[in-house]
């Protein structure tokens, strides 16, 4: 089997497993997996910027929030249907990433982290401040009647699962194709050595901007899906925490791996979910687990696997 075929086979098998999960998983885990797939889509977008292009952003909550509120506001205040709202969310995430990128990409490294953090903080405060539109910290509920896509009721378990699956699958396939394409190679080259890439004739600014916009589109789509699938649009989902979470998921799963963000998000979700069964000090379990993981798999789970055994893993 050629390397390409092996890679596609692995990822399509993973998708097939998830599709089967829609039928096999019990109700509780069905909803959990739906959420994890939406969040993993967000994290995959983050990984395109961070894991592949080397852009350590601390402001992705702004793009996720743009998708969330882009879709949510349209439904709430303009009575839009789920389809147009989802598209609006997608575009809002991309547009926001474009605007932020135009400015923030003039900086690098730590300055880039802080600039993106500050933009996202300004966005978060704006959401809190405009209570009349957003209900600020409380957030708003998206009416069930609006949560219908192509005749499917997104508030019901199965349609929700498969809507999340469709989003995740599209994101995964697109990402796998992207990172293995020549453009993906350039993104990786920029991560590895920007100056060298420039001297091969690539425009780092434009390429990074493109990567960030793609990343923002993922975040926007995931944000819109979150609102429509789970019915809640709130400021806490656009707070700094939601900028750090995708970073954490990506690092846990393995930065610069296609499946890593999903693995990281899934692991983190169930770590929090099950830690409460062990002790009331659940934060301690999470904290210790993170420290142990990073000690024994410093490149993340898939990153460490790749380093040790599966060198072909994209």
């Amino acid at each position: 089997m050629s390397a390409g075929a092996r890679i596609w086979a692995l990822h399509l098998a993973a998708l097939a497993l998830l599709a089967a999960g829609g039928v096999l998983l019990p109700a509780y885990h069905l909803t959990n997996f739906a959420k994890v797939m939406v969040l993993a889509t967000y994290a995959m977008g983050y990984n395109i910027a961070f894991g592949y292009t080397g852009l350590l952003s601390l402001g992705h909550a702004l793009f996720f929030g743009a998708g969330l509120y882009g879709a949510g506001m349209l439904v709430q205040h303009a009575g839009a249907a789920a389809g147009p709202a989802a598209i609006a969310g997608l575009l809002a995430g991309g547009a926001m990433a474009g605007v932020v990128g135009l400015l923030a990409l003039r900086t690098q490294g730590v300055a880039f982290m802080i600039v993106t953090l500050m933009f996202a903080q300004a966005g978060y405060l704006t959401i809190l401040y405009n209570t009349a539109w957003t209900r600020g910290d409380e957030g708003i509920v998206i009416a069930r009647e609006a949560r219908v896509l192509l005749g499917f009721d997104l508030s019901a378990d199965l349609p929700r699962y498969f809507a999340a699956f469709a989003l995740f699958a599209a994101g995964l396939v697109l990402k796998l194709w992207l990172v293995r394409s020549p453009s993906g190679r350039v993104m990786i080259a920029l991560r590895e050595n920007e100056e060298r890439s420039r001297m091969l004739g690539y425009d780092p600014y434009a390429r990074k901007l493109a990567a960030l916009v793609i990343s923002g589109l993922y975040a926007g789509a995931a944000g819109a899906a979150y609102g429509l699938l789970f019915g809640y649009v709130g400021a806490s989902l656009a707070s700094t925490q939601y900028s750090i979470l995708p970073l954490l998921w990506v690092l846990l799963g393995g930065a610069g791996t296609v499946l890593g963000p999903f693995v990281g998000a899934l692991l983190m979700f169930y770590l929090i979910d099950y830690s409460s069964a062990v002790t009331t000090a659940s934060l301690l379990v999470v904290g210790v687990a993170l420290v142990l993981l990073v000690l024994f798999a410093p490149k993340g789970i898939l990153g460490t696997l790749r380093e040790r055994w599966l060198k072909w893993l994209p």
């Binding site: 690098q108 500050m118 700094t240 970073l247 904290g287």
Partner: protein
């Protein structure tokens, strides 16, 4: 109140904010500058300082000033020891790999928060100030302790500056900052320097917290805001520049004090946040950094 006193009050408040910011940021700046470690748990060291100050104030009998003095000494030592332990058991083993240290310090953040929640509880608790002096100005009253915090902050910063610029310890630190491998070649025990710097960073955060806790109360979630603000101050000031850190703290503290006094405060905060971002966009090395980041 007429404009003059109004501005005076805004400036005084700005000074206090600046002092608090500079203190919280200076430890981060050291760790960041010398070790190149993005310590997400820095705010939790700050929180631990405040929480442990509460415990000390409960245990030490006598007037508040005695407990406060004890806390000033014990809390930084305690937190510094925890920081050194974290460095030696975790960060060192990660070889200070930037990405791994981010995850590890996020883990540390959770552990410390849970420890505080379990041992200290979820309530905000006040620690008595060492003295209660209310300075009555012709137009308004003001806390004497707040003025003392500004002075104490200046003393601490001066001490850190002397340590870095004039002492042998500082020389070793700067050598390590400049080039880790060369420092090793010159017989400097880099591991020990790193543990020491991390402990010093944590201890300074704790010291800042002990000074601040009489005006802010100890709470197990109090570490988040100082972390973000400290980062901003450190970056705006320019990496590794103590002078820059202090000036950035003054700039941000004073402008925040004045802007939010005279304009719609939340809107002002949004605008100020964007302004900080734009400063960095057009001067990414910070205001006083010499080299590009």
């Amino acid at each position: 109140m007429s404009f003059g006193p109004f501005l005076l009050l805004a400036l005084m408040e700005g000074m206090v904010t600046s002092a608090v910011l500079a203190l919280a940021a200076v430890g981060l700046s050291l760790v960041f500058g010398i070790m190149r470690v993005v310590n997400v748990a820095h705010g939790e060291f700050f929180m631990l300082g405040a929480v442990s100050a509460w415990f000390v104030s409960q245990w030490v009998p006598g007037p508040p000033v005695v407990g406060f003095a004890a806390a000033l000494i014990l809390c930084p030592l305690f937190v510094g020891a925890i920081a050194a332990l974290a460095d030696m058991t975790v960060l060192k083993r990660l070889n200070y790999e930037p990405e791994a240290t981010i995850v590890a310090t996020i883990g540390l953040l959770y552990i410390l928060q849970q420890a505080a929640l379990s041992l200290y509880g979820p309530d905000a608790r006040p620690v008595p100030a060492p003295f209660n002096l209310r300075v009555q100005l012709p137009w308004f009253g003001y806390s004497g302790y707040k003025i003392a915090v500004v002075a104490a902050s200046a003393v601490v910063l001066l001490g850190v500056w002397r340590l870095l610029a004039k002492s042998r310890v500082g020389l070793v630190m700067r050598a390590t900052q400049y080039d880790r491998e060369t420092a090793r070649a010159f017989g400097i025990n880099v591991d020990r320097v790193y543990a020491g710097v991390f402990a010093l960073g944590g201890g300074l955060a704790a010291l800042a917290a002990v000074l601040i806790v009489p005006i802010q109360q100890a709470h197990y979630l109090m570490g988040t805001d100082p972390l973000l603000l400290s980062f901003i101050v450190v970056i705006i000031g320019g990496l590794g520049s103590l002078r820059g850190t202090v000036i950035a703290a003054l700039l941000i503290g004073l402008s925040d004090g004045v802007i939010s006094t005279f304009f719609a405060p939340t809107l002002a905060k949004i605008v100020a946040t964007l302004a900080v971002a734009l400063v960095l966009v057009f001067r990414p090395q910070g205001l006083f950094g010499r080299r590009a980041l």
